[in-house]
Amino acid sequence: MTPLALGLLNVFFVLLVSLTLAAGLIWVERRLLALWQDRYGPNRVGPLGLLQVLADAIKILTKQDWIPPFADRAVFVIAPGVIMVTVLLSLAVVPITPAIGVVDLNVGLLFFLAMSSLGVYSVVLAGWSSDSKYALLGALRAAAQMLSYEVFMGLSLMGVVLIAGSFDLRKIVDAQARLWFCIPQLVGFVVFLIAGIAETRRLPFDLPEAESELVAGFHTEYSGMKFGMFFVGEYLGVILISAMITTLFFGGWRGPFLPPIVWFLIKTFAFIAFFVLLRASLPRPRYDQLMAYGWKLLLPLSLLNLAVTAAVVIAIHHGGGA
């Protein structure tokens, strides 16, 4: 097979699998939530309720796609697209197995951070262009929350970069051949996990769309497939953060006996299930608690982690040699 055909195959494989998984997660999440809350969940359409996803898709595609007359039309239409584009572009740099992965950038980790920082615009612009007070309040919360948590999301990963000595995600996976980074970088892992939940605006950090206070927050005015894109974008975000945790802290595709892709999927799915479990079990904090927790606890913790890791890396490199 020619390199071009192989490359295209890679691109469409990653695109199709991640979009299918994101749609399928709607069913997975509802079934898992039901399991933990002692109910059945969707179980009528098809075997085990699996066709519920298809039914939802048909419903959402045939709904009227309505743009409020008071909205800023161009921005209103662009906003849901931004989240899909940024998350799908981030998935391009994730090395899934030694053979599968769309692109290898030598600044792959920074590319992921760059795309996740652009993802904020989707929420902010959706809220602004809707010209509704609930949407605007949701967007204001989202902007402050995602901007704050982005800061130490980046800082928490620098420990991994220091140990691996590269921003290249493949080299980071290779550096975990002997020991997964979740052990020497436990603090970094915990901070990244919390920041990742905040970045995807999942419960308990879903203040931008808090139903009990803001109707539906930033996507109050959205309907039909535009709402669907926010919905799928959120699940894609969950897949992305789970895949990044697997890559950065849990050795990526590495593991005994089973083929690499199976290991990668098992690890990623474990974190997706953890995201759902969090939703089933934790209440939403107050907004000032969220901000204070981020700036006063997580930021100093990630800075401390960075300083200690740097000191240890220098001590090993220089102390051992001299």
Binding site: L110, A114, S117, A143
Partner: protein
């Protein structure tokens, strides 16, 4: 150079022009973000992927979000758009365009007579950027961090005093 460079350059120029001529503040900011992204693509083309990534993370992803945030807080309505439109009269553009054209002509002249640098631009790795920041440019980094610390202390002071006044 190659086609992607010229395409990114053209997008940067057009979007920057649109930043100046838009009446709505948020639309102007959106074009500014597009312009910054185009410049990031140019950096990537020139063999500086690290600076390209930082351009997106810091400028497009952090500073511009704060700008949009402030504009949203002000909640400028259609009235401010009308006011802005009235200020954007074509007559006001004549002076800046003449002065800008003189500068552009001067720049083109200097570029045309200057010796061309070797086209073999090498790839600048993140490690090389870090080594030069903490090597020859160490003083600059320290001065920059002084400035940021001063800004941080100032912001803290402003936030503190309003909180105490409210009590």
């Amino acid at each position: 150079m190659n086609a992607p460079f010229y395409v990114a350059g053209a997008i940067a120029l057009v979007s920057t022009l649109l930043v100046i001529t838009r009446a709505s503040a948020v639309h102007a900011l959106l074009y500014l973000i597009v312009s910054l992204l185009a410049i990031a693509v140019i950096f990537f083309q020139l063999g500086a992927p690290f600076i390209a990534a930082l351009e997106v993370i810091i400028y497009a992803g952090a500073i511009m979000v704060v700008f949009v945030f402030v504009v949203m807080l002000l909640n400028l309505g259609p009235r401010s758009v009308d006011a802005e439109r009235a200020w954007l009269s074509p007559v006001g553009f004549v002076g800046p365009i003449v002065l800008g054209a003189i500068l552009a002509a001067e720049l083109l002249y200097i570029v045309s007579i200057a010796p061309r640098p070797g086209s073999a631009s090498s790839l600048v790795s993140p490690t090389a950027v870090g080594a030069s920041l903490f090597g020859p440019y160490y003083l600059g980094v320290e001065l920059g961090s002084f400035l940021l610390l001063a800004g941080l202390v100032g912001a803290l002071h402003l936030a503190r005093s309003t909180e105490q006044a409210a009590r």
